[in-house]
């Protein structure tokens, strides 16, 4: 880079002339204007173009120059050339695109203060000024904290002789404008980063939503297929039961069919659920009870808590099978042949503890039933084995209570399971 040529400060002749004729009044007036200019600059700090326009106009009027340009450094804009922030007067905007202006901007790199150049001197800067048909010019770097934001060019100064005393003031004004440009640059940069990040997040979110939709479709298909397969198993057992002449075999097969049906209903509820992962136990139990209608008439009364009781599949399948066993048992044993009576189903969740119970007003329990190890009181009962196993799986407790069969004081039987939601989800 060429060294600065013939600056106003470096010119002893001019310096002498200024010392001989001080312009203290002008300086004072300019300094008074300084605070007004700073205020004006900052009032439009959110719009660097407006700030630059303001300063360019004010300086042109105060100092007297044909054209004032505010250019932004390419390091800040990531472009190849200095960019025009402001040209005053606006009709001379095209000057900003002159290649000599770009050269002046480049040559001003390394300046730490405002300088005045004559176009008649030797060197690159005067040569560039001549190409612009400019006489003397003022070049002021716009920098703050060591970061160069751009440059202020005042081309064809009307009178370069009286500027020395206001150069410091100009430097300070340039610093304020540089700050405005820097803030604008940071803000723009931040906006770009935010916009880019937002776009990335949007893309990520779209991908996630697409993936979730695909997951839902796949889950739905899985539940559908499981349900269909269970329906086929159900059909096979039903057909097998109906083709058998052995009443015991028929009963066993129909019980198996009913168990499969109770599981298939869970998958039906899952398929219908919004999140495809939880089952409303109350709605499920209602459907299960409806399925028993031919055996029960209208004897089953369902008492559910208000609102849904949502359970994940890991809990809903055991619950469904347990309720199925309780209901089958109650319908078969609670009332003697020909007798009718109510069967009540209770479903309730309180503080994370889920209680299921099936009770009747029937003939009560066989002697010794329900006391001690349940499996030992009725060995060989698949239903009880299943219930005990499922209760263990739920980490719950099974309670069987009721009057003993044959007692005068008959108050039926109650089969209840209680388990905590905690540890399962």
């Amino acid at each position: 880079m060429d060294p600065p040529q013939e600056t106003w400060r470096a010119s002893p002749g001019l310096k002498k002339e200024k010392e001989a004729d001080p312009v203290a009044d002008d300086v004072n007036a300019f300094n008074q204007l300084f605070s007004e200019l700073v205020e004006g600059l900052l009032s439009s700090a959110d719009s660097p173009g407006t700030s630059a326009d303001y300063l360019a106009e004010k300086l042109r009027n105060l100092i007297g120059a044909k054209t004032v340009l505010v250019m932004q450094c390419p390091r800040q804009t990531h472009h190849e050339l200095h960019e025009i922030v402001s040209v005053f007067p606006g009709r001379r905007y095209e000057v900003g695109h002159h290649e000599a202006v770009q050269e002046l901007c480049e040559l001003s790199h390394g300046f730490d203060k405002a300088r005045v150049f004559s176009s008649e001197a030797e060197g690159s800067i005067p040569a560039a000024l001549r190409r612009l048909d400019s006489g003397a010019a003022l070049i002021s770097p716009l920098q703050t904290g060591g970061t160069r934001m751009g440059v202020l060019l005042m081309l064809e100064l009307m009178d370069a002789s009286g500027l020395k005393t206001i150069l410091d003031t100009l430097d300070r004004l340039s610093t304020v404008l540089a700050l405005v440009l820097r803030n604008a640059f940071l803000y723009t940069n931040l906006e770009e980063i935010v916009a880019r990040r937002t776009r990335q997040l949007e893309l990520h979110s779209e991908a996630l939503a697409k993936s979730l939709r695909e997951r839902d479709v796949m889950l739905k298909e899985v539940h559908h297929r499981v349900k269909n397969n269970l329906q086929i198993v159900n059909s096979l057992l039903y057909l097998q039961a109906n083709s058998s002449d052995d009443p015991q075999l028929r009963e066993a097969l129909l019980k198996g069919q009913q168990r499969i049906l109770s599981m298939a209903m869970i998958h039906e509820e899952l398929y219908r659920s919004e999140d495809l992962s939880s089952v409303d136990l109350c709605a499920y139990t209602q459907r299960l009870c409806d399925g028993f209608a031919s055996m029960s008439g209208d004897r089953i009364q369902l008492h559910c808590q208000e609102g849904p009781l949502l359970l994940p599949i890991t809990l809903s399948i055991p619950c469904g099978l347990i309720l199925n066993e309780f209901l089958t048992n109650a319908l078969k044993y609670a009332y003697a042949q020909g007798q009718a009576g109510d069967i009540r189903v209770w479903i309730q969740e309180t503080g994370g503890i889920i209680d299921l119970a099936v009770e009747d007003d029937g003939q009560g329990l066989p002697e010794g039933f329900g006391q001690g190890n349940i499996l030992e009181t009725k060995p060989g009962s698949l239903g009880l084995t299943l219930v005990q196993g499922l209760v263990d799986q739920l980490k719950g407790t099974l309670t069987i209570s009721g009057s003993q069969e044959g007692c005068d004081d008959r108050n039926g039987a109650r089969f209840a399971v209680s388990f905590g939601r905690e540890g399962h989800e």
Partner: protein
């Protein structure tokens, strides 16, 4: 014994079709036709007239059970019920627009069939 109905089963899964036939017979009704596709079902309807039809929605071939339901409603005036594993709201709403007597979600139990048949007998 209440009135015995002539029942048409339209179901592409053979085992389920057989089970439905057995259940219908167990309820005291007669299965007059078993079809696995919409075209088979519509072919039968050219000469036969069931009292009620049970329709799966997903069927062999290009047409689904809902197109059969539409034809039963508009052309043949035969009441029908859907028996389908596709119970999502979109399919269900499309099916309900054809005004079936029931929409039964698989797995089907004999009680659902009984209710649907009784709704025809009692009208």
């Amino acid at each position: 014994m209440s009135r015995s109905l002539e029942v048409m089963i339209v179901e592409d899964e053979r085992l389920i079709s057989i089970m439905l036939c057995k259940m219908v017979e167990k309820l005291g009704h007669h299965v007059c036709a078993c079809a696995s596709s919409a075209s088979d079902a519509l072919g039968y309807l050219e000469h036969g007239r069931p009292d009620i039809a049970f329709l799966d929605i997903h069927l062999d071939g290009e047409q689904d059970g809902i197109s059969v339901g539409k034809a039963l409603r508009e052309k043949h005036q035969v009441p029908f019920a859907y028996a389908s594993a596709y119970t999502d709201p979109e399919t269900r709403n499309r099916a309900m627009e054809t005004l079936p007597v029931a929409f039964m979600a698989k797995p089907i139990d004999i009680e659902s069939l009984r209710k649907a048949c009784n709704s025809i007998i009692n009208t």
